[in-house]
């Protein structure tokens, strides 16, 4: 296929690194790793990491997620057991991300938002043959127990829990964006400059590159969107830690409606906080109430969500920047959920072949939503 015109911006160093690594992996065959084969090297790794003998048991594949291979296990240390989660890179994933970035950002936001504590990271795959990360396993559920949804999109939370969930959801987002990232260890991240278009440009360059490398056939709407985005890159007034996938389905909550942990940090980066706001208000994550009202992320009306964020964060949301990031986010969704999934489903280098095919089918709606955001669909819905 024809490569897109080069942007004037590059992608971040570590994003480039993991995309290159994926290119190498594509030349090799992929074999699903049985959990039992991981126990011994995992135990040896964590013993080295913690500096004392440990015992790993009850290692099993974890359900949930559409990206990395996740395993629950129990770690015995000094006679005490801890419930942990191993995240291991598959052959290919709906998003190609860097475990060191995930590790560093989780450490950086500790205290600012509820997150699992991370224990160890192996960004080069020296211990388990593929890059991996070990973190605390947090209890809670990502959606109501009845009516589970494959993608976590469009979750209708229990009505009686929405108020507390919305409070915690907004507080955590404000907390993440307020982190003094300059004082944290974030060496795996490049830092876009405030007052420039670098934040938006780097984001576009990332997903344009993914499209160029993953598309098995051209998708005109996605190409149109890239051209629109390139022509409308905004500057960033402030630079913050951006979660990159902040929405319903990516947090765990308890029976009292309190958020126990914000999950899925692999797309986090330093950038414009409008990006997260444009993700939270994305129509694809909204739920229609019986009254006909739309709830952003199934929690609050769009305008109430934005107004409450503004009050809590203490800065004004720029509507033009928000519109850019709403379109950018639809573009990013269309690229990974519509483009990458098809390549993976055909290549079979994943533990989630059926999910990739199904998400690809579902993502035709994402492409239609991208056309709507670009006002090119003639108002169809």
């Amino acid at each position: 296929m024809t490569a897109p015109q080069p942007t004037r911006f590059g992608v971040e160093r570590t994003i480039d690194e993991c995309l290159r690594a994926r290119g190498e992996r594509r030349k090799r065959s992929y074999r699903l790793t049985p959990p039992a084969a991981l126990a011994a090297p995992l135990e040896a790794w964590l013993a080295d990491e913690l500096g004392e003998p440990v015992r790993v048991d009850a290692l099993e594949r974890a359900p949930g997620g559409a990206s990395k291979e996740n395993f629950f296990f129990s770690l015995e240390l000094r006679g005490e057991r801890r419930a942990l989660l191993l995240r291991l890179d598959p052959g290919e994933s709906i998003v190609e991300t860097h475990r060191l970035r995930e590790f560093q950002v989780l450490r950086a936001v500790e205290g600012a938002a509820p997150v699992p504590r991370v224990l160890a990271v192996d960004p080069d795959g020296k211990r388990l043959e593929r890059p991996s990360l070990v973190m605390e396993r947090v209890s809670g559920r990502p959606q109501p127990l009845a009516g589970s949804r494959t993608s976590g999109v469009g979750i209708a939370f229990e009505p009686e829990l929405r108020a507390t969930l919305a409070d915690d959801f907004l507080a955590a987002l404000v907390g993440i964006h307020a982190v003094d990232w300059g004082a944290r260890e974030l060496s795996a991240f490049d830092v876009p400059r405030a007052g420039t278009r670098e934040a938006a440009g780097w984001g576009l360059a990332w997903w344009e590159r993914v499209y160029a490398e993953d598309a098995v056939e051209e998708q005109p709407v996605i190409v149109l969107a890239a051209e629109w985005l390139r022509a409308h890159l905004p500057s960033a007034e402030r630079i913050a830690i951006v979660h990159g996938d902040y929405r319903s389905g990516n947090f765990l909550y308890d029976d009292s409606g309190r958020i126990r942990a914000i999950l899925d940090w692999e797309l986090a980066h330093l950038g414009d906080p409008h990006e997260d706001l444009g993700w939270v208000t994305n129509e694809l994550f909204a739920v229609r109430e019986t009254s006909g009202d739309r709830l952003a992320c199934g929690l609050l009306g769009r305008e109430e969500m934005l107004a409450r964020y503004e009050r809590a964060a203490g800065w004004r949301i720029d509507r033009e920047r928000l519109r850019f990031y709403e379109i950018f986010n639809n573009y990013k969704l269309a690229v990974c959920a519509h483009t990458t999934t098809l390549r993976i489903a055909r290549g079979q280098a994943t533990h989630l072949a059926a999910s990739m095919a199904l998400i690809h089918a579902f993502a035709h709606r994402y492409v239609a939503e991208l056309a709507r955001a670009l006002e090119l669909d003639g108002g169809s819905a």
Partner: protein, 139 residues
């Protein structure tokens, strides 16, 4: 010819949902088996529409690319041939979009019309029948 593809799909789905799934105990395997059931549900719902949607797209793409009317005078015999031809047409449309953008031109009315009609097809493909949602749960 029989069995129709839907007969095969429904048989596979019933066995998976009623025999295999209840016998599984591994949570990951259960989740993946449910996903396979959802794939089969979706395929069952769209399989009769796949050719028609591809044919509509071919017609719209051909018009957008100013192909001679004779190009589509006779529908290709197979779904595969139709798909392959549309992949090539979309490549040419993408080239045209990039060239227009490089020249500073906005999307023209014909392109906008194609996108509008394709968006309708995308939505039909995703939710082909009332009550069917490929992201939804398995009964």
């Amino acid at each position: 010819m029989t069995p129709e593809p839907r007969d095969l799909l429904r048989g596979a789905r019933a066995t998976l949902a009623e025999v295999v799934l209840p016998a599984l105990s591994d949570p990951f395997a259960i989740e993946q088996a449910k996903t396979v059931v959802r794939v089969l549900v979706h395929l069952d719902a769209v399989i009769d529409d796949a050719y028609a949607l591809e044919w509509e797209e071919a017609r719209d793409l051909a018009a957008l690319l100013d192909e001679p009317a004779s190009t589509l005078a006779n529908a290709p015999a197979s779904y595969r041939a139709l798909r392959d031809a549309n992949v090539e047409r979309k490549r040419r449309v993408a080239e045209r979009i990039r060239a227009a953008s490089a020249a500073g031109a906005a999307p023209d009315a014909a392109l906008a019309d194609y996108v509008r009609r394709q968006s309708q097809r995308d939505r039909r493909w995703t939710s082909p029948k009332p009550g069917i949602d490929p992201a939804g749960g398995v009964a």
